[in-house]
């Protein structure tokens, strides 16, 4: 099975590897997959409070080259998008961009799940903030 050039590129030069402070109120953390499945992705976004735009995104992935590439690509796409725009990213977009073969499509699905999990975590944190602000 030969890898597409884009997958190799992301694998050899992964973008945005690392971690954000998960206790930061403006950081959403999504962790999907399971070690028994051979795929675990941790995706984090930091949203600018004022503009609602994703300022930073970081990832860490345990998985095959296609899984690493899918999550790396996801962080690239997330930066500069609003939260709603981020939710519109589909796994098929990732498949097309990376030319993933059928047997690797599930990697792109996991990446989409990771994005949604990170955004959902961020939104939960925003909801938890509100009552405090109302009281203040």
């Amino acid at each position: 099975m030969a890898y597409s050039d884009k997958v190799l590129d992301h694998y050899n030069h992964p973008r945005n590897v690392g971690s954000l402070d998960k206790n930061d109120p403006n950081v959403g953390t999504g962790m999907v997959g399971a070690p028994e499945c051979g795929d675990v992705m941790k995706l984090q976004v930091k949203v600018d409070e004022a503009t609602g735009v994703i300022a930073e995104a970081k990832f860490k992935t345990f998985g095959c080259g296609s899984a690493i590439a899918s999550s790396s690509l996801a962080t690239e796409w997330l930066k500069g998008k609003t939260v709603d725009e981020a939710l519109a990213i589909k796994n098929t977009d990732i498949v097309n961009e990376l030319s993933l073969p059928p047997v690797k499509i599930h990697c792109s699905v996991l990446a989409e799940d990771a994005i949604k999990a990170a955004i959902s975590d961020y939104k939960k944190k925003q909801d938890q903030k509100k009552p405090v602000e109302a009281r203040a």
Partner: protein, 404 residues
């Protein structure tokens, strides 16, 4: 030192140039059909086949008449198991094997189950060895065959073959062993090891692909098998089909070379394998060897690098050829069933790599491969959320995973 480097000698081996030289005349000048009884072309081919039979027999402690040529070990496994099952059907219908056998054995057993045979698939101990007491307990008065591989192709573990054979003979049961990974690598002797049938593959011992053999014992007991390939009655009626003379000559020569060089080669490969193992164990943390180191082929290393998935590791060491137990590397997306049967968790199965060293590998290559693997494992651990969590002190076995 050339790249890519080949460290996957359990999958196949390069044909030894000496073997190719021995085979060549049999394509263009000595091309006769070994069954042509009436002219010199046939006699010449027949002589070459007889010489090969002797070389193979000498390697395993058998006699030439006990060697049946096939298209490879998959066919030999089929012939042995189905051949015994059909021939001894009136005596019984129970076969014992292990969950970790090669698919050529497992699938053949599954086929027989569809035809009314009963098969027991023994689990193995965590070190990869069969539990002899468990084997003894699974024997019934309908058991006609025990089939257990000599050495495992994934983890290189060597079974207590002589004891298994002894037990089988005590109970009047035939013992077949898939000897593919052991023959020519460790001293196999069908008499000392109490073996009744044994499968051999040429392309695992620096011979050509497409040819193998089945050892079929003729004395105490005299084993009979029902042919699976019907036709002209070749190989004493056990396997019809014109003999692959060049392939057979190649297999014979490969066996002769192994017979001469096995002891030295085993020592050299054991040294190289241990060097690789020591480098990986000292320079990386959280690495685990799969299977017993004590009862193991000298050239095999099956090792898991926790928190680093196998396919991504293979991608990183792209100038080194090895294989992995990870689901992502298999066509069916299932992790290695051998590792699973040993009780290795799926998470560690996904992180396993199999190194199979061979005759043409050098110490320079081992040093290079060790460097590359260490470099890539470190890089991938930087990318791994699991390594990060483990270093933070999180007990990964207690985490609730949101699996898709």
């Amino acid at each position: 030192m050339k790249t890519p480097i080949y460290f996957d000698n359990h999958a196949t081996t390069p044909t030894d140039p000496r073997v190719v030289d021995a085979m060549l005349p049999y394509f263009t000048t000595k091309f006769g059909n070994a069954a042509s009884r009436n002219h010199s072309f046939g006699w010449e081919a027949e002589k070459a086949v007889d010489d090969a039979r002797k070389k193979i027999a000498d390697l395993i402690g058998a006699t030439p008449k006990e060697i049946v040529f096939t298209s490879g070990a998959t066919e030999s496994d089929n012939l042995a198991i189905k051949g015994v099952a059909e021939m001894y059907a009136e005596k019984g219908n129970h076969i014992i094997t292990a969950a970790t056998e090669h698919k050529a054995v497992l699938d053949t057993c599954k086929k027989l189950e569809k035809h009314g045979y009963r098969v027991t698939y023994l689990p193995l101990k965590a070190d990869g060895l069969v539990d002899l007491d468990m084997l003894r307990e699974s024997i019934t008065d309908k058991t006609i065959l025990i089939t257990l591989m000599y050495a495992n192709n994934e983890i290189g573990v060597i079974q207590p073959v002589a004891e298994i054979g002894k037990l089988a003979h005590e109970k009047g049961i035939l013992f077949h062993t898939d000897g593919v990974q052991a023959v020519g690598k460790v001293p196999v002797n069908v008499i000392k090891d109490n073996i009744d049938l044994m499968s051999i593959s040429a392309h695992k011992i620096y011979g050509p692909k497409g040819v193998g053999a089945l050892y079929v014992r003729r004395k105490s007991p005299r084993v009979q098998i029902t042919a699976q390939m019907d036709g002209g009655g070749h190989e004493r009626g056990m396997r019809s089909g014109t003999l692959n003379v060049p392939g057979i000559v190649g297999l014979g020569e490969a066996c002769a070379i192994c017979n001469r060089e096995m002891a030295e080669e085993g020592k050299r490969l054991g040294y190289l394998r241990d060097k690789l193992k020591n480098r990986l164990e000292t320079e990386l943390d959280e690495v685990f060897i799969n299977g017993s180191m004590e009862h193991r082929l000298p050239n095999n290393l099956n090792i898991s690098f926790a928190y680093v998935e196998g396919e991504s590791l293979l991608m990183g060491i792209n100038d080194v050829a090895v294989s992995s137990g990870s689901a992502c590397t298999s066509a069916t997306l299932e992790p290695s069933y051998v590792l699973k049967a040993l009780g290795v968790g799926d998470d560690l199965a996904h992180t396993s790599i199999r190194f199979g060293l061979g005759r043409f590998n050098t110490e320079e290559e081992v040093d290079y491969v060790a460097n590359r693997v260490i470099e890539v494992v470190r890089k991938l651990r930087e990318l791994s959320p699991l390594y990060e969590m483990a270093k933070e002190g999180v007990d990964l076995s207690k985490v609730q995973w949101a699996a898709e």
